[in-house]
Symmetry: C2
Subunit: 309 residues, 2 copies
Amino acid sequence: VAATVGIDLGGTKVQAVLVDGDDLVADVRTSTPAGGPEAVVEAIAALLADLGSGAKGVPIGVGAPGVIDPRTGVLHRAPNLPGFDAGVALGPMVAEATGAERVVVANDANVAVVAEHVMGAGRGAADVLGVWVGTGVGGGFVLDGRLRVGPSGLTGEIGHVVVVDGGRRCACGLDGHLEAYAGRAGMEKEARRRYADGEATLLVELAGEGRMKSGIFAKALEAGDRVAEELLEEAVQALGVALSTAATLIDLQRIVVGGGVAEKLGVPYVARIGEATRRRLLVPETGPEVLPAELGDLAGALGAALLVR
Amino acid sequence: VAATVGIDLGGTKVQAVLVDGDDLVADVRTSTPAGGPEAVVEAIAALLADLGSGAKGVPIGVGAPGVIDPRTGVLHRAPNLPGFDAGVALGPMVAEATGAERVVVANDANVAVVAEHVMGAGRGAADVLGVWVGTGVGGGFVLDGRLRVGPSGLTGEIGHVVVVDGGRRCACGLDGHLEAYAGRAGMEKEARRRYADGEATLLVELAGEGRMKSGIFAKALEAGDRVAEELLEEAVQALGVALSTAATLIDLQRIVVGGGVAEKLGVPYVARIGEATRRRLLVPETGPEVLPAELGDLAGALGAALLVR
C-alpha cells in the first residue's frame, strides 16, 4: 500500500495526516481560515508541506462537513465552513494547489467510520454504523466492508431520523429528530429552556452565557444535577430508538459511538446507549455490539487517508 | 438464463412457479398441509410435478415465513407453519424429495423484494426497500442490486422498529413497534379495544367475532367510519416514521409497498405513506419514490425463482 494523505476539514481546525501502510507517519493541524474556499485550499497546501517530503504528490483524501454530490464531487450544505455557501468543487481546487494526481472528497462523518472500521473499534466487522455525537449527531455506514455513500451522498444522516414523532424541534427545522435530543446543541437549548422556566441546574450556572460544552455536562452529571441527568437519559433513549432501528433494518453487528460528547462522557455513556439499543430489539441476542470509538479526533483525517487508497 | 422454480411457502398456501428467462412458464398452488415439515416437503414435490416436465431437476428457491440462519440454512422462528417449532433443514429435505441439485431457502419477505426489484415496481433502482403490510409487517432490502440477508438473516425486519417509544404493545412483546400500528392484526386489536371502551365502529360490526380482514377496513373507510380513519392515519404516520428513517439512514431512492392491506387499500394508501415519509426527511427532494408493489401475491414465488438463478 502506497502512502496517502488525509485531511479533516472542520469548522474550527484543519487536521492533516500522512499514512503509510498501517503507520501514521506525521500529523499536523491549523486553524480553519475564515477566507472561504481559496484560503482553505491554501491552508491545506501549507499543511501538506508541513507533513514533509513523503507527502509530495501522494493521493489526498479530504473529509468535509457537508454533502458531496456523488456524481459531480461538488461540496454542498457546509454551513460550518465560512464562505462555502455555494457549491465548491473542492477536489479539483486541492489537486491544482498541491499537484496531487488524485483527490477524493467525502463527508467527514463517513470517512471517520472508514477509519474506525480499518483500525479502530470497527475492526473485523463486515458492517459498521458509526455515530458521532457532538454539537450535532452524524454518522456513516460501512456495509460489506465498503463505505456506503448513497446516490445523494446522504447515507448515515442518523441525526435526522425521527425518534419522537412530533417531538422537539431540530436545528434543521423538522420535529423529533435524534439530533434535537442527543446533540450537544439540542441538549443545551433544552437545558436553557428549562432554566428559563424556573428549574435550577448547574448546566446553566456553569456555562453562564457561554457555550455549554460537553465538559460542563460531565461536571453537572458528576455533581448529581437532576436536569443534566434527565437530559442525558432522554438522549440515551433517543439514541436507543435510532440505533435499534438501524440495527433491525440492516441486521448490524457493530455500532461505534464517538464524537465530543461521547469522549467526555466516556465508556458508561456508551454502555447505556448499548443497553437502550438492545432492549428495543426483536432478537437482542443477535443484536450489535455498541462500542466506544477508539481513534478520537484523528478519525476523520485517518479515514480520509484510508478512503483514497 | 436457465429455468428455475420458485416456491412461496405460506401459512395457508404453497405457491409454486416455473420461470424461464423473463417468462412465467407455469404456476400452481395448494393449501399448506398441517402435518409438519415432511408433509410440506411432499406437497412441494407434488407441486413440482404439476409444474410439468420443464421443472424437473432445475434449481429451486424457497421463500419461507421465518428466519434462515445464513451459515447453516436452517429455518427458525416460523410460528405460522404448523409443526415447524424446532429448526428445520428445509433445503436438504426439498433437495432429497425432488432430486433438485440446488435448493436455496430465504425469508419470504426478502425474496418478494427480489421479484419487485427485477420485474416489478423496483425496476431500475440500485437500492430497494420492500415493505409488506399484511397481518404483520415485513420487509427486505436490495442494496447495490443484491438482496441483503445480513449475518443473522434478519435484514429488513421493519415491522419491529420502534415508531412510538413506549407505545402500543407489539405481538412480539415489545412496545411501540411499527407492526402494532400498521399491521392488520395490530389495527384489529386496537379497533376491538376502542369498541370495548364504548366507541361505535363499523369495523367490529362488520367483522363480528370473525377476523377483521383488510376488505372490512376498506369498507369501513369508504363509509366514513371515524375509528377506521383514525387507525389508518396512525398506521400511515407510523409507516412514515419507519420509512423516512430507513430512507435517511441508507439514502434510499425507491420504496415498494405491498401486502394484503396495501392491495385492498390501493394507490391512495401508498400515496399517503409516501407523503408521510417525505415530510419527515432532511432533504425531501432527494427522498425516495414510494410506489405500490406490482406483482401481487406471486411476488414471493417469483422472487424465490429469481434468487436461485
